[in-house]
Symmetry: D2
Subunit: 336 residues, 4 copies
């Protein structure tokens, strides 16, 4: 049994707590939060968990085997570092760190310490994204052409980071998981409302050597909640709409073919359009976070790297850094 201490019982922490407590092999042994009312709520729900107000007190406890960090990003590195140094396994909220350098450093520390370091890239564990991955891997879409993601809603504005660092980690983690090829450059544009110091809307483009293009629209100032991806392949295309109660993924047997005899002289494009059936594969409906905490437990027990390991966390952070840099450089492409 791995005894887990959770640091942070704010917005996301309660979800982690619930899933930790329901995962075989994990035990929610302690919860840390400086706010009395949050700590009281945690205690009411999990009477077996020791309530603590200071992370240091948790890290000092020898009966804690693993630490789950659900605090603001600016605290991730110090907390994770301290936990690793005390030989504890660590699961960190996304994004792993404010810089790729620090993310990589954490990975190296964990490797040296022989502990598991995992990032909470939740969407990688959804039935929808895993199904899409299996379709991509099986070559069902053909050559990959583009991935377009829209992740917009109203709020929650943050004090210390823009919308890119808040919403884009989800999409970057999905792209990192789905697409084997890695981007060579990133560009980004954005804007924000008067009175707010950061971008509340941003567009991020990932450029790949093959011509593949991934484009993200992240937005805290949208009147409706949209969570939709279009993924285009040369053979098939699909949509992934996370707001659909069912049939989140729809695969379209649609495509185009070009007649190679097309030439400049004829000045005509011979293109044929194929439009066949659409199908929506049945998806595993298990809660993603449950699969994630199980992966954490399994990786610890099997002494192996978890699916969303420190390296994937660092790759995502590197793209966030590049996007940020591009935002500050008039949208110039930043090589990664």
């Amino acid at each position: 049994m791995t005894r887990v201490g959770l640091i942070g019982f704010g917005y996301w922490g309660p979800n982690l707590a619930r899933n930790i407590s329901e995962t075989a092999g994990l035990q929610l042994a302690a919860v840390v939060d400086a706010r009395p009312e949050r700590l009281e709520l945690a205690t009411r729900r999990y009477s077996g968990a020791v309530p603590l107000t200071d992370p240091a007190a948790l890290l000092d406890r020898p009966d804690i085997d693993a630490v789950v960090i659900a605090t603001p990003m600016s605290t991730h590195v110090d907390l994770a570092k301290a936990a690793i140094e005390r030989g504890k396994h660590v699961l960190v909220e996304k994004p792993l760190a404010p810089t790729a350098r620090e993310a990589e450093m954490l990975g190296e520390l964990a490797a040296r310490a022989g502990v598991c370091l995992m990032v909470d890239h939740t969407f990688v564990y959804t039935g929808a994204v895993r199904k899409i991955r299996s379709l991509v891997d099986a070559g069902e879409l053909g050559a990959m052409l583009y991935l377009d993601s829209v992740r917009v809603n109203l709020g929650l504005f943050q004090h210390d980071s823009n919308v890119v660092w808040d919403l884009a980690p989800h999409d970057l983690a999905i792209v990192d998981y789905l697409i084997k090829e890695k981007p060579v450059a990133v560009s980004a544009s954005g804007s924000g409302p008067a009175g707010y110091h950061h971008e509340s809307i941003a567009y991020i483009t990932l450029h790949f050597a093959s011509g593949f293009l991934a484009h993200l629209h992240v937005n805290w100032l949208a009147p409706v909640k949209i969570r939709r991806m279009l993924i285009g392949g040369a053979q098939k295309m699909l949509t992934y709409d996370d707001m659909e109660p069912s049939e989140k993924v729809r695969v379209y047997d649609k495509g185009v073919a070009f007649d190679p005899s097309d030439d400049e002289q004829r000045r005509r494009l011979l293109v044929s359009y194929r439009s066949g059936d659409m199908y929506a594969p049945n998806l595993d409906r298990q809660e993603a976070l449950q699969l994630l905490t199980r992966e954490f437990a399994d990786a610890i027990r099997q002494k192996r790297a978890p699916l969303t390991d420190a390296a994937s966390g660092a790759r995502v952070v590197r793209l966030l850094e590049a996007a940020e840099q591009s935002l500050r450089a008039e949208g110039r492409r930043i090589a990664v």
Copy 2:
């Protein structure tokens, strides 16, 4: 009665023909198309229209008062120039010309010749876009923050131009009509499938001095047809979904407000979210093209500039040129 000759009876020409024939003050007097089967179809429908295979023959007829040009873009300038020089009023398909310089030249020629030169920016005449304009003009949205447009579907690939020149004119014309401020720079990224020489997917960003951002996603390789705009203002926000059979425009009484007492020391963002009712204004359901041909007839009769005049046509082309230039320059911002 203005006697109209239509050049081009392909994809869009039949719609123009029908609306010309149903507009008081206009008479469809001739149709030109080099393809016998298209000409025969036109004749069967409009027995009063003289069938011609050569545009020159049309331009030479003194009984033709106005010419409607629904041919590929590469022919627009020569045809429009010749028509203007013969003193005929001209309505041209979008985009007006391949270069802003030529578009402006046509505008100057028409002004000198005292004829009406109009561009078919159809969407400007829709009930939805006119309603949005009235909301923007009335200040209902508050300070404008962004406009995000998605215009994607499968096909139709074109031989001589990329998706930008085919689909973006619609959005650029809408932006030009809705937003008084004009963009100062354009950037664009895109890609295309193997076997095709142009971009089939592109993202275009219009940068404005005020911080307002307009972003377009145009795509010929999407599995579904999407025609959706999000427009964000500081007071309200709206969606415009042209695929909705009704309620195309939805206005959301949603927004955020920032507490000016927010400061670095407190390290907390005091933001309040407002989420009130949504409403979908009733829209004028008249066919946009009918309003457009009426505007053409009215502008001719009243000897005034039409709503979508040569200047708006030239502004749209200038943005297309800049987008094209940015595509060739790794997405660099091109000043306009």
Copy 3:
């Protein structure tokens, strides 16, 4: 070439005219309408068609081979009878006649006269309904359990009939086409707003000997337009949403199975639910009315009964009569 005279150029007549004029083998030779403005509109569009104000004048013309009747139902029988007696083929708007007896009488007259008598059950010719029929025929749904149809919108209220006679013919024709088994009884309930003498909303249930149930909701006073069918089979189920721009038909690999060992003593129901993929078959997108006018032309030329023949028209009318009777009898089941 069959020379066709169209009687009635009101709401539906123009659609028939256009499709007649575009069908090989048919020629729109005359249009009849007592209203000068409608006749003028018809003449402007179809200069080759003789304009007439009196149906009698049409029926007397020997150069007319076929008559298409798009007038109010109350006139169908007299017009069709007169046309058949003059040896002309006849295509009649739905419903064929106000009573099943008259509908059958017309069928007998046509058979004796050796002319084609066809009913405009448009939906039978849609790609969606034909695809559903092919799925049903192939046994893909398994044993048929129910068909539920919702056909509601705002208006158009009619002077001389209730919503049942206006909207239900579509659904009854679809049921008649899809389901081999014929209903044994009909029940109906309805209501109408103050100031209107008929039902504007009605629910119709068709009872079948096998237990299969078909249920229709027709409504002129609905705030939204809904055109949706659910069809449940023991193996699979499907939805047919005619308001969807594409993917109108969706087939769900869903079902239940009951453990036969279930018994009263155990007081437990052993039921297993199957939830597999959904798929949306690609549909023929040809205009249904074009297929219908072609069927009319083909049936005439091949001297055979058309797909939607007088017998199907009479079956639909018999169900309408029974529904009407049930409405007047407190929803009692009326045997048919």
Copy 4:
């Protein structure tokens, strides 16, 4: 503080437990379930609650002030009766009892014993239904014409009751809450798949003296989950779609007006259609069950009848009985 014992920790019990534990004034003091694994789950979540396997043990405890019954309907009457007789307040899952007579008897017992008896008609406490009620009460819809409800999905089939008793209580409770006028008769039709002894699909019509009509479609064998109501008034109409993540209620400023000069001689219906804006009122998003448990606490403290009292529970059961009777009598109208 009211100490509450919950009987039944199956499908719905956990939701009740959570809301009881989060309601000020209520304390979850005991949980009863005969299944060890359910009891263990309850104990893990609510360590302060005494686990019991036998309801009798709960009822005998003097430290229990109130009992919440979330067990199959067949057990409701005995459990509720025993609890009332021991002076405990009672909240019962819908439907309150298998017969209206028993439901009324429970109400009388509770009144005599001076305890609160409440039914869990959850939907009455949703923001959507309460908003609709306020619109109806304010007369915004005008004279009420009809209510049409569709509540369909796949499963869960039950051993001891048909779909009417499972799903229709929701709709009947909503109708009872929204519409002041009470129905005078009920009719119903239904069917079920081979291998199942009850109806899995049913249509229920409530007839009102005024002509108002309420119609319910309940179905366990539908491929998609639909939760949609249409409510038509003479002035406005609305839709209530519970599957929408937001904007569940949409109010349409649509209607018809009849010209009273319409007469038989003119044979024309002068009807004018009004189609104005649609709006979606902002809704209270509090969890309905939370409001319900608070109402239970408040009613106990204030010694008053709760909103969903025994009388409303009995009215709903009376309609269920009538629907059942109609199902067994070929859909005949059953007076209530």
